[in-house]
Amino acid sequence: MRELKILAVVVFFSLLTYYLVEPFAHHEMHKKVDAEGNEIVINHRDFVYDGKADVEEAERAGNKELATKKKAFWSDVKTIAGLKGNATAGEAGFAMCMGCHMDGAANMGGVIPPSLEHAGAIYDKNYLIALIKDPAMAGNVDHKYADTMTHPMGSVSSMFADNQSIADVVAYLQEKKAGEVTPKEAFNEACVRCHAMRYDKVTQLGDTPKFKHEKDALAHKIKVIDEQDAVKKYMGKLPPDLSMIIRARGEHFMETFIENPQGQLAGTSMPRVGLNAEGYEKVKAYLTAIGDPSKVKREALGPWVIGFFVIFTILAFLWKKEKWRGHH
């Protein structure tokens, strides 16, 4: 039938245009290439941390020495991960952590040390080991501390000098600090020291309390600005508010960026966060609840509206058939 042929032509050219300006153009725009012009494919690694990406990056940059260093570092991490940790022994080690990671902690050298209440639940085991061994290497931000700065958590390496003590404290975290965590708690522990969430009235200081008097509200605001200034000084710029980030970045970008910020945004001062799959799901749930709260309603309403128009179209077709009867 002629009309269907015409429709096929229209649909073909529309879809072709769509393919070219959306999937194809976005792939071309955001693809990364190495010095030889070969495309670098950034794979999602299921939130497992083995340092492969870090080593590849160093190799690609032609820095053999660094690549060897990173390889050795992550192979040590693997060794420690193979040790049997003793949670009871790790408790004493954890007490040292609490010296900084306590409730109501103040900014220490850049950020407020985050709560470790659910560290065993939301962070990957290898990452935790790496972090205690060398925070800068674990975060893949060692380039920031190569010359003048020391990592604010740098002193941790002197607290856990031998491999067994690291294995013990990680075992403790995984046994005792792995309770059920809400999406917002996951965000607070993993992200809030740098990123605000203004659509949920969350700042770098956490939830904004309700104040009776404007004076108190302003005093709190000044505290927030001071904290933001400290973070800004440490990070180079104020990390973005994440209220709308779930709509502003695609799924693949979010996953791979959180696994290794350097891969997507070379040179960024953001360290790797070390979330495991569960931790990421929790953080994502919170980002979605704030940045895209209509998602649930949208998906619930969609079939009804589309169903309505399917019925509408069937009725319209019958009406058309009736009106055109005898015309041909």
Binding site: L16, F24, P240, F309, K320
Partner: protein, 411 residues
Amino acid sequence: MAHFDENAKPFGNKWLDERLGVNTLMKVLNTEYWIPKNINFLWAMGMVLAATFGILVISGIFLMMYYKPDTNLAFDSVNYTIMTEVGYGWLWRHIHGVGASLVFLIIYIHMFTGIYYSSYKQGRELIWLSGMGLFVAFSAEAFSGYMLPWGQMSYWAGMVITELFAGGSLEATGLVEWIRGDYVPGDAYLTRFFMLHVLLIPLVIIGLIVLHFGTLRLPHVNNQDGENFDYDEAAKLYKEGKVKESKVIPFSPVFLSKDVFVMGVYFILFFYLVFYHFNFAMDPVNFDPANGLSTPAHIYPEWYFLWSYEILRPFSKDFGLIAFGIAQAALFFLPFIDRSPNVAPAHKRGLFQIWFWALIVIMIALTALGKLPPTDPLYATLGFIFAVAFLFMGPLLFVITKFEKPLKKGA
């Protein structure tokens, strides 16, 4: 004074007819507005456009109740107030965003239909010209609307497009500042584009739609074969009940029944996109708030402007602007460039058919290249080739139609 029946029931048909001429109006606009029978679903695109415009107006009214045209508030009024706090605000916004994109898809289909069936000449020039006027008005409407969420792409697209008014080497920065109301897009800029988007341009669009409908009346709607027949005779046949023999149908209800069916199919697609596939129309980059200190890695317009953007891009600054200007104006002159005496579908017009499909390929290629990064030498070269090809399409049309043989009547 006319005669009024004193016994007519108030607000009854007779009463209204004597005062308002409702029966005449009904005939003129509906039951005796004759449309050719020999048409396909592409003839429904006009009504699909009217319906989409209606949806844009309605959704726009709802959005305007909560939108704040202020650089400090705009982003949050859209992304927080409308998307989070207002009941179904998200639905209106998605409808408005997707509708703004789809209206251009249908405009392009409508335009290419007109070109394919030679529906722009021999009495139909004003239909084409008023339609092109609508295309320009819709473009301005789309651009001004894109500024309002005040995201990164709003800001930087606004910066780039207003910069065009500097006229390249003319360096008319004064004009640019006058348009922006500031050195860079700011509060004055946002407020005036809000005014343009919700008042001035919609008024122009409504006026042009009325004109567009008016221009259709005397030359009549074209048909699938470009056949010119006696409408009075055909209408007479139809009214006598010989609907099978007659070449026309009344706008209402016969033509309209088909339009409504096509609209139904269109709305299934429309709402599928609104609920499940909206990113193509609501660029994720624009969910980052405007920041004058951080340029996005890639600045590109919405898909429907890409072909003209790509005509601007591959040339030197001044020649690019000239080429861009020519490209914008060229389509207006189509009825006068086409010298052929034939009003017929492209597949009956020899070389014109090849010209038509070449135009489609060039426009799609330019659209794709307008978004692909020009830093890639392959894309830059292709962009240059297709932009030049587009500029040659006008003179080429003039030549091939000049030598086009008149078709025999009834062929």
